[in-house]
């Protein structure tokens, strides 16, 4: 079909289009951020009298991040279907470019959410981190893993009828390997003991696998 530089250019245009329209409406970012902050407040409010183990802290952090991803990441494709712009996008760009553009947008969106949630979480829960670098790496890789698994699921869900509830149902079993590894390596970073290299490697392998298989399968979702 098209050469790879063409793909890359088209993908960046799709990303730029999404960022622009997001910047104008601020729908996804404001909704997701507010949701994440609400969830964070609920967690912090209800467990503030207790000091939690690192395992539990990490689990709470990823529960908040996972569900905020579930509220926001499906928008990328649902918006195209609801705004009836999907057809135009189908004509304008190769499927792979659309997928990569949407993936990049979801990564950016989820990274922005993580960048706000993670510091707030540490402040509200009054946590001092023994291994801040590892925590940042786990958050970054976990964010990538969440975005890579939910982009294709978002594409599937945007073509189905009951979109809201279905997204989390479909995304959870597929996201679980990435999510579990992210929880593990964050727990290591928060406790300062143990090794997280295996989990980080699993996260990297998982994201690569999801992106590669999504690229192969996306055409069937997009053009049917």
């Amino acid at each position: 079909m098209t050469s790879s530089s063409n793909w890359a250019r088209e993908a960046v245009s799709v990303l730029a289009k999404d960022v622009t329209s997001e910047f104008r409406t601020r729908y996804a970012l404001s909704a997701v951020l507010l949701f994440a902050i609400t969830a964070l407040a609920v967690v912090s409010f209800s467990v503030s009298p207790y000091s939690l183990e690192p395992d539990a802290q990490s689990a709470f952090l990823w529960t908040v991040l996972f569900f905020s991803a579930m509220t926001g990441l499906s928008r990328s494709f649902v918006r195209e279907e609801e705004g009836r712009t999907a057809l135009a996008l189908r004509l304008a760009a190769a499927p792979e470019a659309v997928y990569l553009g949407k993936l990049l947008f979801n990564v950016v969106l989820q990274a922005a959410v993580s960048a706000v949630v993670l510091p707030l979480f540490l402040v509200l829960m009054d946590i001092s981190v023994p291994l801040p670098g590892l925590l940042a790496a786990s958050a970054a890789m976990g964010t990538l893993a969440l975005a890579s698994s939910s982009t294709i699921v978002a594409a599937i869900v945007s073509r189905a009828n009951s979109r809201g509830a279905l997204f989390a149902v479909l995304a959870f079993p597929i996201s679980l390997p990435g999510l579990a590894s992210a929880v593990r390596s964050s727990a290591v970073a928060l406790s300062g003991t143990g090794s997280a290299s295996g989990d980080l490697m699993t996260l990297a392998a998982y994201s690569t696998l999801m992106i590669a298989s999504s690229l192969l399968l996306f055409d069937y979702v997009w053009n049917d």
């Binding site: 479909l170 079993p173 390997p177 696998l209 298989s213 979702v221």
Partner: protein
């Protein structure tokens, strides 16, 4: 006609085989040393879990076939494989849970194998939730095929991830299949019944799947004939 006789014969053979397996499981095979009479669950629980995984594999194979060839019968095959997989997955989960209560004291404790079968249940559930939420038949087929393949791709990773989930040590006896030893040392009688049961369950799966496909073909043909009638 000959095919009909052959299939009736195969069905009878399968029925007799399963009867022998059930009788053998309770009377021929001895009880295991540590677990006692409860150990007889292995002749039913493990084959069910095996069928749940096999059906998942078949669902993926049919899904890939559908995406390549776009034949409706392949999509029907994928959904029937998933249906049977869900059924056997439920049987494996419930029977395992009852065994866990009497052997280890609680119905559920997120043991690694309980986690993986739970994920498999979730995948099957999500697969049918997706199917039922799409009206257009060809879109339903291809979207659920894509989802089935994606879910299958992630499963091998779970094999690496799940044992690393903290705080739970597996209570499962380290498999009669994987290694003989520990509490569930199989002697030759147990092994015979166990393998016969695996074969029998696989046969039951194949029979039920075949039945479902034949019923679907008849229905499909009737619907097509009706559509042609209406056009005339």
């Amino acid at each position: 006609m000959q095919r009909l006789i052959a299939s009736a014969g195969a069905k009878l053979l399968l029925g007799a085989w399963m009867v022998i397996v059930i009788v053998g499981a309770f009377f021929y095979a001895p009880a295991a040393v540590t677990l006692g009479e409860m150990s007889r669950i292995i002749y039913f629980h493990i084959p069910s879990a095996w069928i749940a995984v096999l059906a998942f594999l078949m669902c993926t194979v049919y899904s890939v076939g559908y995406l390549r060839k776009r034949r409706v019968d392949l999509d029907a095959g994928a959904s029937f494989a998933a249906e049977l997989g869900l059924l056997f997955c439920l049987i494996a989960t419930v029977s395992g849970s009852i065994f866990a209560k009497s052997a280890w004291g609680s119905y559920w404790n997120w043991d690694p194998r309980e986690t993986s079968i739970f994920v498999l249940l979730l995948i099957y559930g999500a697969y049918f939730a997706l199917r039922s939420s799409i009206d257009d038949p060809s879109r339903r087929s291809s979207l659920s095929a894509v989802y089935g393949i994606l879910a299958f791709v992630t499963v091998p990773l779970l094999v690496f991830v799940v044992p690393r989930i903290p705080a739970v040590q597996s209570l499962h006896p380290d498999g009669p299949i994987i290694q003989a030893g520990g509490g569930l040392d199989m002697d030759s009688k147990m092994f015979t019944v166990f393998m016969a049961s695996l074969a029998g369950f696989t046969g039951v799966y194949a029979w039920a799947f075949n039945l479902r496909m034949r019923a679907w073909r008849v229905l499909n043909r009737a619907q097509e004939a009706e559509a042609v009638d209406r056009e005339d």
